[in-house]
């Protein structure tokens, strides 16, 4: 018992109290609650105000305030399309109706004001329907069969749910792409045109066909009382219902919506031709035109958003007072008044973050004349460099002082700068985000405010693994600290062409160039910085093995620099390491494969290397007997995870610790009967990975640590080729307190002095901030006497604790979490954290507490009063003492 108490004290003392005070909530963090790219939208009168009911691609049912677009309520359904996909939304009397699922359908009725669940009906269908259509209290399911279509109709209300009629419809073609319902008419798009049929009549019928040339079936949409579809060149064909028949309206070529007479148009300003010779719109007009009763209004958008994809509108009693809601390709939802003013904008593209990077803003204003603050750490103790740095610093301080005085005189310090705010401690960074909806965003990490956005015509498919990662690369070539312009590159698969490379300024969002790469890109790698070249070069590897360096001048540096090895062509079951060999003349570069790792019949799921900006402070750790165990810190080491299926159709996971230069396998292990998702983290001399143990039905975390031994071979330079140390790998497994891990990340700080923490994101929406010493593989057995224990490591308990105060995002749930990003700030104690998913969350954490920060409630007045008082008191007592001495002397 006593041991347990000691243990508890150790735990508490070791991990520290991580929670925060009530008044600190929302002070260091921000959260954006998003819903996803809107698929369908309906206006509903909820009480006094109108609300907007939406269903989105992210399986979210939500209600927005129609005036300011604020979120009233939302429900996120399951992630998987099988159970969570929302098929249809509608209204029934005072309730909102949603239909979700695939073959197991949930029909739910919600209260519109607060989103409370009123009733839930469950329907088990034999197969997944192609389309679901809600008309009042009727729910129609459409099944496309080889011999036609089956339509099954159900009737429901808040209490009952009854199965209605079955109906068979024979069709000419069964290649149905998309269906929409318009009142009692079902319209579906096929490769040659539209087919339609009556949905509510019971007798079998034949679907009628309207041929549409060059149809793009996915653009079929119901807009108000019309049906609209586009052809591949983007022109709109409109149909309306007359006496139960679909009639083409040749005079309407713009997008229409619920309000009669309102038309919306987006011009195409630049046409392009793809490789197959098809015409497409390469650039749309910046402004949207709305037409009402022959009167045209221009809607000026603040930024380019790509194609206008959908239009909805709400007409008031006055036909002049309508509200338009436009949905764009980039996921943006824009609400417009009849005069063309923008009521609100929602950036829903941010729910599909593909790549995100932290970029240093820099400490100084670009416009000022201060020299670069960037110090070269390599030769910091060289007297000449020291002197230079010191002079630079003095110059800078004098300039700062002058600036401050002049700003005092001109009262300039009252002005607020609209550009990204620079702070003294580097707590603010720019988060550059590339979304799957073709948009780049620049976001301030301190507030989550969007600073800029930039459109790129990319293409994203729903591929998994390496395939998905290679669709776009976001590479930061130079950040704002180095002086001069920051530069970043986005390499993306163009929607109608080969890969393109877009160069832009990550701090301002200004595009510098956007050019096609003349190769079929396999992967793009950011090479390390060379001392004589301030921009990090990019190595482009083509599918045919061709290699290019960008910029071309960097090939020179490759020749003069140390030999470079890259991991090339990671395919599903093979890793190949290659040496980069620059040709003797010119800018040619080739790859020579030097090592390989083949994992037959398994699939490599992740290759995790150390964060290149990471610094390690201590080279060893002190043992209980006061000797030092040196860490094996190989910057080229990677943790490779591969998944395979064994003979009993269970998954297994193979783990390798692999040197990426020599291809040496330092450790390999297998875990059988596991399930994904797998998450890996590799940093300093340790690595952790997590998986779900199917046999024991729990999530497990395995921790590995590598040590050189009691002696260190080479303390200054590490070379994978020359180093012959075979590291000792310590290992231990733990049971995670969360069963569905969504993200795993380590904290990183400027100098690596601060202790490391692990951030574990769960599907529930919380991020656990776990001190690393709790997953230390060297945690001794429980019965180890106190004298034999290493300092700072608690005894081994298989289960990891989950104290509520160490949940980083306290009550701010992050729905649909996808990944966690960390970045060092200018302060050693502080790490910046950005979590994305359906919600975005930004905060900063101090793993070793704020040892270089003054407390929030630091009493400046008190301390200055005390100092002043002391000075005063010493002055007075001196005077008194002098007087006393004088009187004594007179005596």
């Amino acid at each position: 018992m006593r041991e347990l108490v000691v243990l508890m004290i150790l735990m508490l003392g070791g991990s520290g109290v991580l929670g925060l005070y009530e008044d600190q909530a929302y002070k260091f963090d921000w959260r954006k609650q998003l819903i996803g790219k809107v698929e369908d939208l309906e206006f509903l009168a909820a009480g006094v105000d109108t609300a907007i009911l939406v269903r989105t691609q992210k399986n979210v049912l939500a209600a927005l305030d129609s005036d300011d677009g604020k979120l009233l309520w939302r429900h996120k359904f399951e992630d998987s399309a099988e159970t969570g996909k929302i098929l249809a939304i509608g209204r029934l009397n005072r309730n909102v109706v949603s239909v979700s699922g695939s073959s197991n359908i949930f029909l739910r009725l919600w209260e519109p004001l607060h989103g409370a669940l009123v009733q839930e009906h469950f329907i088990k269908l034999a197969s997944a329907p192609t389309h679901a259509h809600l008309v009042d209290n009727n729910l129609h399911f459409v099944f496309v069969k080889p011999n036609g279509m089956d339509i099954v109709t159900y009737t429901f209300d808040t209490k009952k749910f009854t199965e209605g009629s079955h109906k068979k419809v024979s069709t000419e073609t069964t290649e149905v792409e998309k269906c929409v319902g318009l009142d009692n008419l079902l319209v579906c798009s096929t490769p040659s045109g539209l087919i339609y049929t009556q949905i509510n009549s019971k007798e079998p019928s034949k679907a009628e066909m309207i041929p549409v040339a060059d149809i793009q079936g996915s653009t079929l949409a119901r807009r108000g009382t019309r049906i609209q579809v586009e052809n591949s060149a983007g022109s709109v064909t409109t149909f309306k219902v007359e006496n139960g028949k679909l009639v083409k309206q040749a005079d309407v070529t713009n997008m229409v919506s619920e309000c009669p007479g309102v038309e919306v148009k987006q011009e195409c300003s630049e046409w392009g031709t793809d490789a197959e010779g098809n015409k497409y719109c390469a650039q749309y007009a910046d402004n949207i035109l709305t037409r009402f009763k022959g009167e045209e209004t221009t809607v000026k958008l603040a930024s380019y958003r790509g194609k206008l994809e959908a239009v909805w509108s709400e007409c008031g009693a006055d036909p002049q007072a309508y509200q338009l809601i436009l949905a764009f390709q980039d996921g943006g939802l824009v609400s417009v008044t009849p005069r063309g003013n923008i009521m609100f904008t929602r950036e829903e593209g941010l729910t599909s973050v593909h790549k995100a990077e932290f970029v240093n803003i820099g400490f100084e204003d670009k416009s000022s004349t201060f020299g670069p603050l960037y110090l070269h750490h390599e030769n910091m103790f060289d007297p000449a460099t020291l002197a230079q740095n010191f002079i630079n610093r003095m110059k800078r301080h004098i300039l700062q002082l002058r600036e401050f005085i002049s700003s005092l005189i001109q009262l300039k310090f009252l002005e607020k700068n609209s550009a990204a705010t620079l702070d003294r401690f580097g707590l603010n960074k720019m988060i550059v985000i590339a979304t799957e909806h073709n948009k780049l965003y620049g976001m301030e990490s301190i507030s989550g405010k969007l600073m800029w956005q930039l459109y790129f015509p990319g293409r994203f498919t729903s591929a998994e693994g390496f395939e998905s990662k290679s669709q776009a690369y976001l590479l930061i070539q130079r950040d704002g600290r180095a002086g001069g312009e920051a530069q970043a590159v986005l390499i993306y698969a163009h929607a109608h062409s080969v890969h393109h490379m877009m160069t832009f300024d990550p701090l301002t969002g200004k595009m510098i160039s956007n050019e096609p790469l003349n190769m079929h890109l396999d992967q793009a790698l950011l090479l390390p910085e060379f001392s004589d070249h301030e921009i990090k070069p990019i190595l482009l590897v083509g599918k045919d093995g061709n290699v290019a360096v960008h910029p071309r001048a960097a090939a020179e540096c490759l020749r003069s620099g140390p030999p470079l090895f890259v991991l090339s062509g990671p395919t599903n079951s093979k890793l190949v390491g290659s040496k980069v060999v620059p040709s003797q003349e010119g800018s040619g570069v080739s790859l020579v494969p030097v090592w390989s790792l083949v994992t037959p019949s398994t699939e490599i799921v992740s290759v995790k290397t150390r964060n290149p900006i990471e610094r390690v402070h201590s080279a060893g750790r002190v043992l209980a007997d006061r000797s030092v165990l040196f860490k094996y810190m190989n910057p080229n080491l990677a943790l490779v995870a591969a998944q395979g299926t064994d003979s009993s159709a269970k998954l297994f996971l193979n783990i390798y610790l692999l040197d990426m230069v020599t291809g040496k396998v330092h450790y390999s292990a297998t875990h059988k009967k596991v399930l994904g998702p797998y998450h890996t983290v590799h940093s300093e001399n340790w690595a952790v990975y997590s998986f779900y143990n199917e046999k024991a039905r729990r999530a497990e975390l395995v921790s590995l640590e590598m040590y050189e031994g009691k002696t260190q071979t080479n303390a200054t330079v590490f070379s994978s080729i020359e180093n012959k140390v075979i590291p000792l790998v310590e290992r231990q497994a733990y049971i995670l307190p969360v069963s569905d891990v969504r993200a795993l990340k380590e904290t990183v700080t400027e100098q690596g002095i601060t202790s490391k923490h692990l951030l574990i994101g769960s599907a529930v929406g919380n991020v656990l901030d776990l001190p690393l010493h709790l997953v230390d593989p060297r945690r001794p057995p429980l019965d180890t006497p106190a004298g034999m224990r290493e300092p700072g490591i608690p005894p081994y308990i298989p289960e990891l604790p989950m104290p509520h105060e160490s949940i980083m995002n306290y009550n701010q749930t992050i729905l649909g979490m996808k990944d966690i990003l960390t970045s060092p700030s200018g302060l050693e104690s502080t790490t910046l954290v950005f979590v994305h998913g359906l919600d975005l969350y930004g905060t900063r954490i101090t793993p070793s507490k704020g040892f270089d920060l003054l407390k929030e409630d630091f009493d400046y007045i008190m301390i200055s009063a005390v100092i002043l008082g002391l000075v005063l008191a010493s002055y007075i007592t001196r005077k008194l003492a002098q007087k006393k001495m004088l009187t004594k002397a007179w005596k």
Binding site: P600, G663, V665, T670, N693, A733
Partner: protein, 157 residues
């Protein structure tokens, strides 16, 4: 059985040339069962210094498939060996994959059970000496007595 052949220019001088040009000495392992090729490399200069003493580690996965080879120079043995300049001295080591660690719940549960059993069977037997057990009562009494005895004579005066 491993059959090793040196390709390219003649062995020793070839290696010397590679060493001068700071290139790498590559090995390729071709398995006869059609398992594909595996590659590794070593620094030729180090190999020459070690008198062509090398070790080849073949990594196997848990099913017994070859996944990787690592070529290492056995430089630590070099002085002991006579330098046979044209013959490779290759040691082949097979390294198989181990089972990954699992949480050690059994030991922990056992520990907890013991704790519980001890609690149920009553207080633990305290076998410390009398003084070790009750020093916190004895010491204050002693101090009190010491103070009293020190103060006593003064009061008597």
């Amino acid at each position: 059985a491993v059959h090793q052949e040196l390709q390219g220019p003649e062995s020793y001088s070839g290696l010397q040339k590679l060493c001068d040009k700071k290139e790498l000495y590559l090995v390729k392992l071709v398995s006869e069962g059609g398992g594909g090729e595996l590659q590794s490399f070593a620094a030729p200069c180090a190999l020459l210094e070690a008198g062509l003493a090398e070790s080849l580690i073949v990594h196997l996965d848990w099913k017994g498939n070859m996944i990787a080879i690592n070529l290492n120079v056995r430089s630590e043995e070099a002085p002991l060996k006579g330098r046979n300049r044209d013959k490779f001295d290759t040691k082949v080591v097979m390294q198989s994959m181990e089972n990954g660690p699992t949480p050690d719940t059994a030991a922990f549960i056992q520990k907890m059970e013991e704790e519980k059993a001890r609690k149920l069977s009553g207080e633990t037997k305290d076998n410390r000496s009398f003084f070790a057990k009750y020093w916190m009562y004895i010491v204050p009494v002693c101090i009190f007595m010491a103070i009293n005895s020190a103060a006593g004579p003064e009061g008597g005066r």
